[in-house]
């Protein structure tokens, strides 16, 4: 059974139809990449999966429960695209608070995983953009979530750290979690087990990176994406 099942999901924001009717399945034990240009509906889909998005139709089930169910709140970890940590607290104080709300430990390990040991006692406001994003990401690594929904967690990070973060996502997936990571950078797609390519709220294609390259006879995924767009047009 898929960890996340999205059926005919329709989301309308104001006058704009962001997701006209999207269906997708996201498996446990895999790193699934949600790729697409900005404005394609990635964040909206993620918000619907964690149950904070008002939806106009369709259904989203996570671990067999409707998205946003109270029982899911300690099993689904989520980070937003903009860092959502308290700017006037230190990294450690932020993590301690989130850990106490979740009723779990692992603050030091989470700080270490995102490489912020040397900034653990710095106030978030004084960190760089990339460091703030890492502090925010660390809050999602507390405890042992079964589903991780990470909205552009590696944007603006240096290549070495990006590789370490992807290794961490891989380890979490190998531990049995469903890991959904969005990115608008195609060169990150190769690090995923599965890809969901999104454009204008529609799912262009799904499959493993190798399958997508093969299907489109493209050398890289950027080209594969272009060909899929042309095919759809």
């Amino acid at each position: 059974m898929a960890a996340i099942e999205v059926k005919d999901l329709r989301v309308v924001r104001g006058e704009r139809v962001v997701l006209p009717g999207l269906s997708a399945e996201i498996a446990a034990g895999r790193v699934t990449g949600l790729l697409g240009p900005s404005g394609s509906g990635k964040s909206t889909l993620m918000r619907a999966i964690v149950g904070v998005q008002i939806v106009a139709g369709g259904s989203v089930r996570v671990l067999g429960e409707p998205a946003g169910s109270p029982s899911l709140r300690s099993r689904v970890a989520y980070i937003t695209q903009a860092p959502s940590v308290y700017a006037d607290l230190t990294v450690r104080e932020n993590l301690r608070y989130f850990a106490r709300v979740l009723g779990v430990g692992g603050v030091d390990r989470a700080i270490e995983t995102v490489g912020l040991e040397s900034h653990a006692d710095a106030v978030v406001d004084r960190l760089s953009g990339g460091q703030k994003a890492r502090a925010s990401l660390a809050t999602a690594l507390l405890g042992t979530p079964d589903v991780l929904v990470l909205d552009e967690p590696t944007v603006g990070q240096d290549p070495l750290l990006r590789r370490e973060l992807w290794d961490e996502f891989r380890a979490l997936a190998e531990g049995g979690a469903a890991v959904l990571v969005s990115s608008h950078v195609m060169d990150e797609a190769d690090r995923c087990d599965e890809l969901l390519l999104l454009r204008d709220g529609d799912l262009l294609s799904t499959g493993t990176p190798a399958e997508l390259r093969e299907r489109t006879h493209a050398r890289d995924l950027d080209e594969a994406f272009l060909r899929l767009v042309e095919e759809a047009a």
Binding site: V50, G51, R73, T80, V85, L89, E93, R100, V101, T139
Partner: protein, 245 residues
């Protein structure tokens, strides 16, 4: 609701406040300055200072906590931390009570410092219990917090949130009976005054400061003030949506 989460939230809010010592100094010492100004303004009329000053002690925390809460909660909404919290195992009541505990503690400090100054150095005389004045001040702080929380839902920016102060707080103070006795107000003004929660908070305070006795009307004032606080908290909780557009 989980006590662990409630207290974690209160501790978090207090840590945030501690990070901003300038705000704490302003919250505690600006009222001191204002009371001192009143004292010298009414130098020749100590009875006026006693009447106004005593009541002001109880109203400062109401005003301060209204602003502090509406801005802090607006920040939670705007920076995305509220959305993040809404995906966690945190009940809305945990968040509200966490805030209430933290700001009530701040109100205790504020009311105590201002009272020590007013009673100790500025010769303020109240007929009733000084401790009761401080206790009512803390109660008013929680009322201000609850109204501020509710108001924050209708502001998109901090500029707007600050403007709710004159919009929501000033009319309540003007019509509370502090400036013109309620008995002398035009009927329609008095009807509006009847509908404002601060009217009852003011009446309770003035009963203590004027030593008019703590009878049934005082109890009625308390019931209405506490009821209004709970209602504002419930309305505030209703504005904390787990799902947004």
């Amino acid at each position: 609701m989980t006590p662990r989460v409630t207290f974690a939230t209160a501790a978090r809010v207090l840590t945030q406040l501690r990070r901003d010592p300038r705000t704490i100094v302003l919250i505690v010492f600006v009222p001191c300055l204002l009371v001192a100004l009143l004292r010298f303004l009414f130098d020749a009329q100590p009875q006026v200072f006693d009447r106004v000053g005593g009541v002001m002690l109880g109203l400062f925390p109401f005003i301060t906590m209204f602003i502090v809460t509406s801005i802090t909660m607006l920040r939670e909404r705007v920076t995305g931390t509220l959305e993040r919290l809404m995906t966690l195992p945190l009940a809305k009541l945990d968040l509200l009570l966490g805030y209430a505990i933290a700001f009530a503690l701040l109100a205790v400090v504020q009311a105590t410092v201002v009272s020590l100054l007013a009673f100790g150095l500025l010769d303020l005389h109240v007929h009733g219990s000084k401790v009761a004045v401080v206790a009512l001040a803390v109660g008013n702080a929680v009322l201000g917090m609850a109204l501020g929380l509710f108001a924050s839902a209708f502001a998109r920016t901090e500029f707007q949130a600050v403007q709710f102060m004159p919009a929501i707080v000033f009319p309540q103070i003007l019509l509370s009976g502090l400036f013109v006795a309620r008995a002398q107000m035009a009927g329609w003004l008095r009807a509006i005054s009847d509908a404002f929660p601060l009217t009852y908070a003011y009446d309770a305070l003035s009963r203590v400061t004027e030593g008019r006795g703590l009878g049934a009307w005082f109890a009625f004032d308390l019931v209405v003030t506490i009821g209004a606080t709970l209602l504002a908290l419930a309305l505030g909780a209703a504005t904390l949506r787990r799902r947004t557009a």
